[in-house]
Amino acid sequence: MIPELGHFALILALVLSLVQAIVPLVGARRNSMALMAVGRPAAQGQFFFIVFSYVCLTWAFVTSDFSVQLAASNSHSATPIMYKITGVWGNHEGSLLLWAMSLSLWTVAVTVFSRHLPDAFLARVLGVLGMVSAGFISFTLVTSNPFERLLPAVADGRDLNPLLQDPGMIIHPPLLYMGYVGFSVAFAFAIAALMSGRLDAAWARWSRPWTTVAWVFLTAGIAVGSGWAYYELGWGGWWFWDPVENASFMPWLLGTALIHSLAVTEKRGAFRSWTVLLAIGAFSLSLLGTFLVRSGVITSVHAFATDPKRGLYILALLVIVIGFSLLLYALRAPRLAGGGSFSFVSRETSLLGNNVLLTVASASVLLGTLYPLFLDALNLGKISVGPPYFEAVFVPLMTPVVVLMMFGPFLRWKDDDLVAAARKVAPAFIASALIGFAVAWAVDHVTWRTVLGLFLAAWVVLASIQLLVGRLKERAGASAGSRLRSITASWWGMWLAHLGVGVFIIGVTLVGSLDQNLDVKMKEGQRAELAGYTFLFRGAVDADGPNYDAARGIIELSRDGRVLDTLTPEKRLYRAQGMPMTEASLDIGVFRDVYVSLGEQLPDGAWIVSLYYKPFISWIWMGCVLMGLGGLCAAADRRYRRLAAREAAAGAGQRVAASA
């Protein structure tokens, strides 16, 4: 009964999404307040029914109702309760429902936080979001109904894929989807603005916090996913250039470009058509990512059961949404010329340069991801494009991005003098190059990659310090506290996020250059040495869990005779699927991780144990955290609220005038 209620609620949500898609748009066209006002309750009602539907599905998982096909395939009565709940999105149908729920949540957020928006504009935004939502809910209902019954019910389920039974997987998909889907708001704002022909600084200002928050979610989602791969896949890799990872990385790159482009559009009125195109592009890449993952055109470890009907449906959705947007763009963008003028050497130029680089990087990832498909479609053979390609392409593209990233903030808006600016940054730039060489030499790893990485990282850190000092000097005479307070949240946001990039580069470079690994055959009482650490194997014990059997190795980690930690890597066999899993054990530190995973037991009783020393790897995620914090700071800038209040007041005035 409950699954049927959930199904019914989803159908109601579809009806409401159609209402939300059509009525407010008609209202905006006819200038009818009554019709436009329908958008808000329709969006909120839709959210209610989707959540209700989602809860019903979760109920089937939690109560192990294996007459529901999805629960039978992705849950098991012995699965821990946490993974029963997360199992809901560990599959195609459930993850689509999560997608729809995220979209609905964003829409509701728009209805709540955008009271200051002009009515017609909000109506159009809600209409666009409603269309996307209707597309996805109907996709779920028509091709991938999560409430499908399985009659007769099976005695027990097949369990959730053990790879997904991990704390990282509890938060990774919701964060990632909130990020992916969050770009729909920027997209809807852009389309609404194109429809109304009003693409001005106000539009950019409205879009900015939404875009930034979505970007923060996406950053966090990608970082958590990478962290999950790092410890769950058992050998310490953290990024694989897998098509599914690329699918989340492309919108991130374009979203990053969008954030910066919006800043220019808001402050200087420039780049307007470009910003609109980026807003459309970022969301299009999110949709494309969903297509790649869900259609099975590119196989991947992540790809779940796929069928061509689904692929076709979602492709049709893609063509309608993106095709319509780009057509609208082609029709309306030519009117968008103008904006504040700026010269060759200006902050605008540096931002535009970085925008181009990020877009090229994103396009290159797309090219590498889809190239095998192109060749196959043209019957020119099958190839694989993997990490060596992406690394070869990516480093040269990102290096100028980082250099410009720290040079741009030293430039003035509109016009600056290249020589003067160069003189400002030269000392830090030269010092960074020296530091890059010196540190690479000190760690005895002078390769061009290490030197380059360290140089860039040093450049980011030094230039950040220089920027902050310069900023604090601005108000000579004021007290330190008031000087700090005078800095806006959005400036701090930029500063933190850019510094985060530096921290990230340090992690990537050092772990790439200096990590060490040793595979040993260990018997009880034996030790192994790696990177100055001693690993003493104290034997293996049984450590069966609720839905798996496991052997747990007990390994004492010490250094210079001092015991640091006891590591407990596990080798698990998940009963329902008969799937073996390695559960690595880590001693996490600021400057290094020690990572141990347990392999097979050999006939002579020894265990294969893989030992890894990963210097500075946590800096990768610390960098992501700083970027995310930076985004939050920027989104929380008081300016938006102040302007919002002012605009709300002005809007209220207009409304009074209109109704009078």
């Binding site: 492709l315 780009l326 029709l331 050999l602």
Partner: protein, 197 residues
């Protein structure tokens, strides 16, 4: 309307066309680079007479199939009745390559097993399977460690190679042979190769 603003739309339509075409392709199928190349030579023990060996030379002048199989392979069971029917109708001689009979079976821990013991076990298992399901093969050979499989670029079982009179691989079928694939692909190709001499 300026044409340059249409560029993103056109690019997207091109992309969508490829994606639509991509939906019709099977990403799991990897074509073999060995097509039209001489089949890699091998000498392996025969399943029926383990003391004797078989090598490619013995099939010189024939158009024949090399079918990769194993008793643990579920899809082989699906394909087998068709092979048996083909043998009854004497469509084409089929040589079986029994692939990793013991160590390929996930249910058996073959680690540390002596090669003789493994071979004995493989013979016993393979013979029993052929007794139970019928033996459509001219003969089968034992690829205990899967080395010959690697030479043929085998990446899943079953796979079937069509080899011509001069010993060249002309076609590779991946996965179980379906009646449709037999009628519309394999038989026409076999007849063509026979006509070609």
């Amino acid at each position: 309307m300026k044409a340059k603003f249409l560029v993103p739309l056109l690019l997207f339509f091109g992309l969508a066309g490829f994606l639509a075409f991509g939906l019709t392709l099977n990403p799991r199928e990897v074509p073999s680079p060995l097509i039209d190349k001489p089949a890699p030579d091998f000498t392996l023990a025969r399943l029926d007479e383990p003391a004797q060996t078989f090598s490619l030379k013995e099939m010189q002048g024939e158009v024949w199939l090399l079918n990769v199989w194993a008793s643990w392979c579920v899809a082989c069971r699906e394909e087998h009745p068709l092979l048996v029917r083909m043998a009854e109708q004497k469509i084409v001689p089929v040589v079986g390559l029994n692939y990793k009979e013991v160590r390929g079976d996930g249910a058996i821990n073959a680690r540390g097993m002596a090669i003789e013991a493994e071979t004995d076990m493989a013979i016993e298992r393979a013979r029993r399977w052929l007794r139970d399901h019928g033996n459509p093969y001219l003969l089968s050979v034992l690829d205990i460690d899967g080395r010959v499989g690697i030479d043929f670029g085998v990446y899943g079982v079953p796979e079937t190679f069509l080899i011509d009179r001069s010993g060249r691989i002309r076609y590779k079928h991946i996965g179980p042979i379906t009646p449709d694939a037999l009628q519309n692909v394999l038989i026409p190709k076999i007849e063509e190769l026979r006509r070609a001499g």
